[in-house]
Structures are given as structure tokens and as C-alpha cells.
Symmetry: C2
Subunit: 457 residues, 2 copies
């Protein structure tokens, strides 16, 4: 038997750091959303790149599936062990290895979380901007090409990973990229592994691009009576070239959930949450120009958060949206959508989605990184109600098809995982077959995260 | 015979748009720099993607080499037809297909040049920022992952190509990416083809990210007595977070060549050429902060170019550096270096290079996109002097090795072509073998730009 033989050898390598307990397997076989559990046969906790390479060599030798694990915060079931095997949990490879302030870079291990990194960076005057809602691991964020509220200004993981160390399916260790700000030296392997969801290799080290903490920061919330003008304000703001650091949309239902979760008193109507970064005069100028756009479109009730603790509270509220909305709908089994469209199509994408969700009777609050054309409906069919789950899946499918029709993508930042695999052919056509060819070239036995991302995997 | 049979079929497809004349073959077998000519057997001038697909199918059927051609401005011999075959010249696929001002994107054919694109964009308030010195084709710029003076602010082709249409070696046509600002939908095929130098497919359409023409622009030149403080000023400026639009280094020999070529009167000493983009107040603030840094480091002789025609003259002078320096050294056979290092190592990289060039007796003016850690020595061994060529190649090799030792790359923006192939193993180690695996997966017969980029190709 392939898997038992691999586990025998892995136990010899890792001792008690190979955990076969039911509880640990269950923990690594579950996800944050509605997908059915799929536990691995064991969980490995390597401490070094050399150990990861040995794990891969053992698993390659026995044809044993290998799934990477960071913080488990995926919303698309990326790390479900569909064919059992070994889940490699990077909890013990979670160190900040080096900060190079002059180069504005940091080398980190994949298990380090984004919040832990920023805590360690606090005294340096630098920060790492990419911020998905959860306190995700940086390795996981790279593997899913994550982004968050600040992508409109600082980019996604695509833009903020300079270099990687990766262990391939046969145990070879490669280094991609360098600490130089740019390069034309051959295929962009860094970009290939960023977003590969553990199907091409396991990331064991990342060199990240850091940014200077802005001299001045100002944040605000403003309310709109209806959704249309809020979205129009976003489009006008992006097109005006104001270098927004954040511009987030929150619908009335989400605002209500925020109030319930954090004792706030937002009006229960659509909102924009924004942040400006720069010199004090630049921030003032940006805020003034944004205020003019909002006023023209009937936005009101501006609340400014200039003090650091008020801003922290504001963005904590936004980052906890997933949990606040869950709490407001007890008994819901979340299905999160993640479409992203060209800015010119944002208004129709949001409006058609809202109408569709309203007609369905399923709760589906909407929040979004609308400066990127990216928004999420958090659909909440009742747990254990197959008809509601099917209706929610149909809504999600229509959102995905709508995004493709409007020239967009089915996932702006959450990745493919289990939830978006069915749309890959529609989004990429023959390009999906190309992804399959690349996969077979680097993982011919198909041991890395099987059942995910590529055709017939 | 494989190639004659392919040419027979291609002539049937293209008629007079398959050119087998000696003059056209010679034109497409030459390069801008010192490499030996290597003409193709014929030059094809397709007009549609469908024709490119047919060309590839014919060539795949006969095992005939295929090399892409844009404007022929490569400095590394990318498009030399080392094994003959067909060069596909995109001169007749050079249209701007569409501008979407609301999305700040443009769809273009690969033969359109960057200057032609910007001329067409003038009335839109938008521009495409990536500016290698030459008026390169946009397809060629994508294929070499080019950049230029503005990468420090706007990024390289990696950052400014949103989507591609590519014809694969077997004639399949794929579309990578979308017009959405970001996506997590699987492998980043766009990034894989950007920088692939025609070895994985031929680019037949590009969706480019445009940027708003800045409200205010201000440019300046300032002089330094010696090189050290000029480089220190760059490092201090980048680390201070001033959002420079351009920050270029020019050494004394280059300044002299500029004067000779354009009748200027720059002091013959090291210079920085800079540009600021933003609102009028932001530009004034940036310029003031930059001025303080320069003054502290002994820079002087600031000349401001606030009028558009003065700025155009300034950057035209910089963009013509290659030809100005050639003209100043008649009889030289150019060998251009292109190292890029982390900013923290820039001073030692430049200083050691200058010392090495001085000791060699070979002319080697230095210019550079130093805000990215990227600089070029234009080495000018005498044409037909093998000892000088060998000495120049040894200098170039030491620059490359120095860049790798300092954590950088052998090519910041010119690409691999013929000139940097010998350093791929040193820069990428086992990663170079991975590039070979990817190549074989997408071009198993090895017909696309053979002899380039990957091992044993």
C-alpha cells in the first residue's frame, strides 16, 4: 500500500512530528466553508527545508499525496486532502528570517502569519501591506495569490513576493527570483508558483517586498442611501487617479452585522470605507478630492478616523466581516463568492448580483475590494438544507458566469480550491489544458494537492 | 528536408508575404550588438492570429524553427535565427485594437511600438509608461520583460501586461489573464509568457495597463563631482519613499557623449536625471525633498525642465544614450551589460564596475535606472579586434558574477538572448532545469526560438 508505506518512512524521519491522531487529522480535513471534510492520513510538522525535501522524496517514492497547510484560513477548501496522504503543516516553520531595511525586503518562513510579521516589523518603519481578512500564513497567501483591502494601492501577492524557495515534487529545492527589484532572466518562476495552490511545489521560504509606513494616514466611513451611487463613487475615484490606499464597499446587511458584532452604530445602509496614505499634505489633498466626489454623488455622514486606535477599530471591523456576518446568521453554512470584473463593469455586476440574491431568499451580504473590481457575497444557506445549498450554488454559478461575461474572473483573491474548479474551463479555455501540461511537467506522478486546480488531476 | 518543405507550405499560405530575399533575410539575421549574424531561411509577415496559428501548425508539422520579430531592437541577439527556419515579423500586426478609458487598458497587436501607442493615446489623458530606450514593439517588450526609466514608479512589463493572446507551438491559440485588475484563477500564464523570449509561444495580442497622464510633471538634471555621492543620493531618495517617476544615473563619459550628440552643455561629470509626477503641490513637495537630499550630498547645478518641450529634449537625450555613446566611439562594437542588484548593494556594484572598466582600457560609459538597482555599461571594444572583444566579454562576465554575488541578477531588463545564456545556470541553479521542463511541456519539438533561454535547447 502506497500511503501506509510512506507513513512508515515519514514516522522514521519525523518521530512525534508525524501526527496520526484522529483529532489532528480532523482539524486538517476541515475547512472554513461548506465543503465536506476530507482528512489526511497523517499530519507532518517539518522544521527545515531539508526535512520538507525528505518528506517529498519519501512521498514521491510511494506515490503518496502531499497537501500544504498554513493557517487553514482558505475559503475554498484548498487544503482538503481529497485522496488522503500527508498534510504538511508549516506551523514549526514560522520565523522571520531577516529584514533588510535598506532594500525594504524581508525573508520569512511560510508558516509566519501576516499579522505576526507586521508586529515584528513595527519598529522598522516598514510594513507588509497585503491583508486578507484572516490572519493567514504568508506561505498560504502566496500559494493562493491572495490580496485584500490594500491591493488597490500596494498590489497583491503577485506584486509583493520577490523570490521563493520551493521544494518540488521529487524533493529538489529551487530558488526563484532574487532580492533585486526586477529581472529579465528567464521564465518568471516566482509568478508561476504564486497562485499554484500547492500543486507544483511546497513553498519553504519567501522574500517579500516591504513598504514604508506612511507618514500620515487618514481613514473614513461614509454612507449612501442606495447602492448605485456608492459604486459610482468608487469608479469615479479610481478613474480620477486619487491614489487610494483602501476603498471598500459594505452593503446595508453587512453594516448591520458589523453593528451587531462590534457594538457599532453605522447607519444600516451601503457604505464606503476608505484610507489615504502619504505625506500630511498629500493625505489632506486626497481626502478633499475624494470628499468632493462623494458629495456630488449624495454620500453623507462622513466619519473620520485619524487616531490610530480608531483606524484599527475600523479595519478590524472590516476584516472580521466574515465572522460578523456568520454570527448574524446562526445556522448558516457559508458559501463565499469572489468575482472580479473590469471597473467599467462593476456597477452592473453589483446591481445584477444584488437583484439575483434578493430574488433567491437566501441571505447574502456583500462586501468588496471594489477599487479592484472585486466583491464578495457571503451566501448563507441553512446548514443541512440541500435545497438551500443548491440554490446558493446556483447563485454563485450565475455570479461566476456574469463575471466572465463582463470580461472578469471567477476569483479575484480566494483562489480555485474546491469551489471554483468547475469554472476553469469556461474562464481559461485551452489555457486550462496548458496549466495541466505545466503540472505534469513538474509533478508527473500527481502527488501534490491532487484533485485541485488542473484538469483531470 | 524539413525547412524547405515548411517554406513550400508557408509560401502557399502567405504568397508574397513570405519573403526569401537575401536582403530581408540579412536584415532579420542581424542584431544591434556584437553577435554574429544568423539569418532565417525566410521571413513571414502574417496579418491575423489565424495566420500565425497556421504558420505554427505548418512549422510544427515539418520541425521548422520559428523566431518572433518585433522592431529588432534587442541588445542581446534574441531574434537571431540560430538554426535557420522562419522569422515571423509582426510588422503587419501593429494596430491599436481598442482603448477602454474607464478601465485604463488598451488592447494592442504585438507589432505596435510603444511610441506609436503613446501618440495614439495622447488625447485620452492616458499613457503607457514602460520606456526602453529604443522604440521597441510592445510584443517584443513583453517577450523580454522590458522596462526602462519609469519602472521605479510604474513597474516593468511584468506589471503592465494584464492579458495576452498567445499561439502555442502546435498552433493552439490561448488567452491568458483578463481585463479584471487582478485574479487568483490558477497559474499565472500571463507572467509565464512575459519574459519567455519567444520560446513558449508567439504573442499575438496584449492587453496593457494604462496610467493617467500626471496633472503636473517636473524634471531636473543635477551634477555631482564624483560618482559615490550621486549613487548615495539615489539610495537615500528611494529609501526616503519619495515616489520618483524617474531617477537615472549618467556618468561623466555619457554626459560628454550626450553633449556631442545633441549639442548640450552638461558638465562632464556624473549626473542624476529625475522626474516627478503628481498634483502640482505633490510634485513641488517631492522636488523639495529630493533637493534637500542632493544638497546634503554635494550635488549642484540643478537645471529644471518644467516646460514639456524641455522635458522631451531631456529624455530624448537619455533615450538616445546608446546611439550617442556609439557615435562618440566610432569603430566600437557594442557589448551592453545590464546587471541589477538590491539597492543596498548598488554603491559597491557601481564602484567596483567603474574601477574594473578603468583598469581594462576599454571604453565603457555607464548609465542606469538606478532607482531599480539596474545599470548598464556600454562596453566598446574595437570592431574586428578579438583581444578587445575577449577583454570586454571578461569585463561583462565579472559584472554578471559580481551582480550574482551581491544577490542580484545578470539582466534587469534586456533579457537573456545570446548574451546571458552562459549565466543562467549560475543565476538559477536547479531552477534552470525547471525552465527546461516547462519548455519541453509546451514546445516538445523545440521549434520555438531554438538555442535560446533553456538548457540544451
Amino acid at each position: 500500500m502506497a500511503i501506509p508505506d510512506a507513513l512508515h518512512d515519514l514516522a522514521g524521519l519525523l518521530g512525534s512530528r508525524l501526527n496520526r491522531s484522529d483529532s489532528d487529522r480532523a482539524l486538517h480535513g476541515a475547512s472554513e466553508t461548506h465543503f465536506a471534510p476530507a482528512p489526511p492520513d497523517a499530519v507532518a510538522y517539518p522544521e527545515t527545508t531539508a526535512e520538507v525535501a525528505q518528506i517529498l522524496r519519501i512521498c514521491a517514492g510511494h506515490g503518496c499525496p502531499v497537501v500544504g497547510w498554513g493557517a487553514g484560513s482558505s475559503l475554498e477548501g484548498h487544503a482538503l486532502a481529497l485522496r488522503g496522504g500527508v498534510t504538511v503543516d508549516f506551523a514549526r516553520m514560522n520565523r522571520l528570517l531577516n529584514v533588510a531595511p535598506e532594500d525594504m525586503t524581508a525573508r520569512v518562513q511560510p508558516g509566519l502569519t501576516r499579522e505576526a510579521l507586521n508586529t515584528e516589523l513595527r519598529a522598522t518603519g516598514l510594513f507588509f501591506p497585503v491583508d486578507p481578512g484572516a490572519d493567514a500564513s504568508l506561505g498560504g497567501m502566496a500559494a493562493t495569490r491572495a490580496s485584500g483591502t490594500t491591493a488597490v494601492r500596494y498590489g497583491t501577492m503577485r506584486d509583493n513576493v520577490l523570490a521563493l524557495e520551493v521544494v518540488l515534487s521529487d524533493g529538489r529545492v529551487i530558488r526563484t527570483g532574487s532580492a533585486a527589484p526586477k529581472s529579465s532572466a528567464g521564465y518568471d518562476l516566482t509568478a508561476l508558483f504564486v497562485g499554484s495552490e500547492g500543486t507544483l511545489g511546497l513553498i519553504t521560504e519567501l522574500t517579500l517586498r516591504l513598504h514604508g509606513q506612511p507618514e500620515a494616514v487618514s481613514a473614513a466611513v461614509c454612507a449612501f442611501a442606495t447602492l448605485g451611487p456608492a459604486v459610482e463613487a468608487v469608479i469615479a475615484t479610481i478613474q480620477s487617479g486619487i491614489p487610494m490606499a483602501r476603498i471598500e464597499f459594505v452593503d446595508a446587511a453587512s453594516a448591520a452585522a458589523f453593528n451587531a458584532a462590534s457594538g457599532g452604530d453605522l447607519p444600516e445602509s451601503p457604505h464606503l470605507m476608505v484610507e489615504f496614505h502619504g505625506s500630511p499634505s498629500a493625505v489632506a489633498e486626497q481626502a478633499e478630492r475624494f470628499g468632493e466626489i462623494v458629495a456630488e454623488l449624495g454620500g453623507a455622514g462622513f466619519r473620520w478616523a485619524t487616531r490610530a486606535q480608531d483606524r484599527t477599530a475600523l479595519w478590524k471591523m472590516r476584516h472580521n466581516a466574515f465572522y460578523a456576518i456568520l454570527a448574524a446568521h446562526p445556522g448558516g453554512s457559508p458559501l463565499v463568492t469572489d468575482v472580479c470584473v473590469p471597473i467599467s463593469r462593476l456597477a452592473e455586476a453589483v446591481e445584477q448580483t444584488v437583484a439575483d440574491i434578493s430574488a433567491s431568499g437566501i441571505p447574502g451580504p456583500i462586501v468588496g475590494h471594489v477599487g479592484d473590481g472585486n466583491f464578495h457575497a457571503l451566501l448563507l444557506p441553512r446548514k443541512g438544507d440541500p435545497a438551500q445549498l443548491a440554490a446558493a450554488q446556483a447563485l454563485s454559478a450565475r455570479m461566476a458566469e456574469r463575471a466572465l461575461r463582463l470580461g472578469g474572473t471567477v476569483t479575484g483573491e480566494h483562489g480555485i480550491g474546491m469551489g471554483k474548479l468547475g469554472y476553469m474551463a469556461a474562464e481559461h479555455g485551452e489555457g486550462w489544458a496548458v496549466m495541466g501540461s505545466l503540472k505534469r511537467a513538474l509533478d508527473p506522478a500527481g502527488i501534490l494537492n491532487p484533485g485541485k486546480l488542473v484538469p483531470g488531476n
